[in-house]
Amino acid sequence: MSPRTIIDKIWDAHQVRAESSDTPGILYVDLHLIHEVTTPQAFSELRSRGLKVRCPERVLATLDHSTPTLPADAEGRRPYVTAEARHQVDQLEANCQEFGIELNGWSSEHRGIVHVIGPELGATQPGMTIVCGDSHTATHGAFGALAFGIGTTEVGHVLATQCLLQRKPKSMAIHVEGKLRPGVSAKDLILHIIGRIGVGGGTGHVIEYGGPAIEALSMEERMTVCNMSIEAGARAGLIAPDQVTFDWLQGRPRTPRGADWERAVAAWRTLASDAGARYDNEVHVDASAIGPTISYGTHPGMVTPIAAAIPAARDAQEAKALAYMQFDGGQALTGQKVDVVFVGSCTNSRLSDLRDAAAVMRGRQVADGVRVLIVPGSVLIKREAEAEGLDEIFRAAGAEWREAGCSMCIGMNGDIAQPGQLVVSTSNRNFEGRQGPGVRTVLASPRVAAVAAIAGVITDPDAFQERAA
C-alpha cells in the first residue's frame, strides 16, 4: 500500500461505502456530539418520519450555547435571556429523554462547552470520526481524530443512520518548525497561521499540524490550535496522537481500561502519517519568529504582532473592516482603550487558560471602567479552578467569575457587549456583531487578554511584565 496520511487512515477505516463520480462515499461516525442550538429541527425530522436514533450510545449531549452563565436563584430559576432560549434547552432535555440519549445537563459535572467535555470525558479518542452541529468540532482533532462541523440536516442523518454522505477532502500539512518563545501561546501560533494562509486558505482541506513546535504542545494547547482550523476555512484540523495524548486520556471516564487500553494505544500508535505520504498542500511555519499576536480587523485572518502598528488597508474590504473597528492603518494597537475582556470559549476556557489569566491578575486590580468575564469551559473545570483558588484571584481583581458555557464568544445567552465597545476576547471569531451589534472584537490569548484587563488598554505582555519586574 502506498504511504498514507493520518487523514487517509481514518477515512479508509470509516468508509461504509466508497465514493464514485456519481455518489459521495458513506462515512461512519464514531461519536456524535449534540447541543441545544443545532438539533431541535433534526429531532423534529426524525419524529415526523417515525425514525429512531440508530446508536444512542454514540451520541453525547450537553447544554452550552443558550445557557445562562449566571447561577440559578434560590428557587432554582435560571436567568435565561429569553423564554425562547429556555424553551430550546427544555427541548433538548425532552429530545434526549425521548430518544434515549445521555445528556450532560444541569446536574452533571460534565456539563459545559461541547468541545471541552468530549475530551474531558475521554469520549474523544484517537482515530475516531467525530461530528457535531458546530464548526469548532475540529477541536477534537488535537487527539488525532477526524472531527468536523455539520449542519442540522446532517445532524438528522447521523442520528438516524450514524453515517454521513461525504466526499474525501483534500489534505494540507502545516509543519511548525523550531520552538515557541516563552510567553508565546498556542493561540498566538494559530492566529499567526490563519494570518499566513488566510480565512479561505484551508477551504476544502483537512489540515494536519506537525513538526517539533506542535509535538512540544500540551493537549490543551493542541486543542486551541485545532479549534481554529475552521477560521482558515478548513473542514478539520488534526495532530497525530503521541505519548502526550495517551497520558492525557488514560483513566478518563470513557476511555478503555486494562488490556483494552493497551490494545487501543498500540493501534493509535499506527495512526501517524507514513513517511513519504503525500499532501495536496504543504506550509512551513517558523515558531521561533512568532510573538504575541492579536487580530485588528473583522475576520480572524486580519492579525498582527501585538507590538506592530495596524497594517494599512490594502483594499476596500480591509478599509471597511478598519472603519468598523474604528482603527487607522499605521496606528499602534497597544494603547487602544479596552471596554470588556472575555476569557472563555471552546478555544481558551480550559484550566491552563484560566491559570494563564490568573498568573497575570494575581494581586492586581482590573482597570477602572473595564468589565471582565471569566467563563470556564465546563462545570468540572470550574471546580478545579476553584480548588486552586483561581476564582478568588479573579474576584479579588474585580472580574466576574461565571458558570460554564459558550457565553460571550457567540453571545446567544445575553452575555454581550454594547455597541462600539472594544472587547479583548480569547474566543475564535471577530466578525462584525459577533459579540453584540456594533461590538468590536480583538482576538487574543488568555495572557494578552488578562494584561489588557489590568492595563485598561491593549498592552504588549512582554513590556507589561518587564515593567512589573
Binding site: 481514518i10 479508509d12 477505516a13 468508509q15 461504509v16 461505502r17 466508497a18 456519481d22 462515499g25 458513506i26 461512519y28 442550538v37 443545532t38 431541535p40 429541527q41 423534529s44 418520519r49 440508530r54 450555547h65 443558550s66 435571556v81 429569553t82 425562547e84 424553551h87 430550546q88 482515530g127 464548526s135 462541523g149 449542519g151 442540522t152 440536516t153 446532517e154 438516524a160 443512520t161 453515517c163 454521513l164 454522505l165 480565512v199 479561505g200 477551504t203 476544502g204 476555512g233 473542514r235 487501543a264 493501534a267 499506527t270 475576520h299 474590504q317 471597511k320 457567540i410 453571545g411 446567544m412 455597541p419 471569531r429 466578525f431 462584525e432 456583531g433 459577533r434 451589534p437 456594533g438
Partner: protein
C-alpha cells in the same frame, strides 16, 4: 425538497468578501426550534438600522434588487459557523442561488441540502457579475450553465450527486437509510476489530 432545474431572475450584488454566517443571520436569532420564518432575520444587522427601520445603504434594500432571487456575493461567502439557519434564512428571504468565486464548505453543504444552489465561478466572470447587478440570468442546473442577457454563457461545475439531488428533489436521508445493510455490515466488522485502520470499503 422540490425538484429544481432552472432559475430565471435578476441578480442582487453583495460585493464584499468573507460574508460570514453571523452576517447572514446573527446568533441571537438561533434560539428558535423551528426552521421556518427566518427570512425576516436575513442580514439583520446590515439590513436594518438599530431602530428597526430599513437601512437604505444595504444593497438588497435598493429598489432594483427587489424580487431578485440570485445573489452574487464576494469571495468566501458563508464562512464561519455551521448554522443551517443561514441557508434557511436566505431561502425564506427569497434567494434561490448564490454565485461567488468561493463559497465556504459547511455553508455550501447545508445550502445544497435545502435546495439553495451554490455556484462557484472563476474570478474574472465573478468580478463582471458583481459589478453589474440587476441583469437577468438563467441558471440551468442540468447543463451547468448561466446564460447572460448578451447571449454569452458561464459554465460551472456542480458535484454530480448534488446536481442529481437538486434536479430530482432527492431526499439524501432516504439514500442513507437505503444503505442500512452496508452500515450494519460495517458495524459488525468494526465490533470484531474496533481499532483497525485497514480500508473498510
Amino acid at each position: 425538497m422540490k425538484p429544481l432545474n432552472m432559475i430565471r431572475s435578476c441578480t442582487a450584488s453583495l460585493p464584499f468578501e468573507n460574508i460570514d454566517t453571523d452576517r447572514i443571520i446573527p446568533a441571537r436569532f438561533l434560539t428558535t426550534t423551528e426552521r421556518a420564518g427566518l427570512g425576516r432575520y436575513a442580514f439583520n444587522d446590515w439590513r436594518y438600522h438599530e431602530d428597526g427601520t430599513d437601512n437604505p445603504d444595504f444593497p438588497l434594500n435598493q429598489a432594483d434588487a427587489q424580487g431578485c432571487r440570485i445573489l452574487v456575493a464576494g469571495h468566501n461567502f458563508g464562512c464561519g459557523s455551521s448554522r443551517e439557519h443561514a441557508p434557511w434564512a436566505l431561502l425564506d428571504y427569497g434567494i434561490e442561488a448564490v454565485i461567488s468565486s468561493g463559497i465556504a464548505d459547511i455553508f455550501r453543504s447545508n445550502a445544497l441540502k435545502n435546495g439553495l444552489v451554490t455556484i462557484v465561478i472563476d474570478e474574472s466572470e465573478h468580478r463582471a457579475l458583481l459589478a453589474d447587478p440587476g441583469i437577468e440570468l438563467v441558471i440551468d442546473i442540468a447543463e451547468g450553465s448561466i446564460s447572460k442577457p448578451d447571449g454569452s454563457a458561464i459554465r460551472f461545475e456542480l458535484d454530480r450527486f448534488a446536481r442529481h439531488c437538486l434536479l430530482n428533489g432527492v431526499d439524501q436521508l432516504g439514500f442513507l437509510l437505503d444503505a442500512d445493510a452496508d452500515i450494519s455490515a460495517w458495524e459488525s466488522r468494526r465490533a470484531a476489530n474496533p481499532y483497525s485502520m485497514e480500508k473498510a470499503a
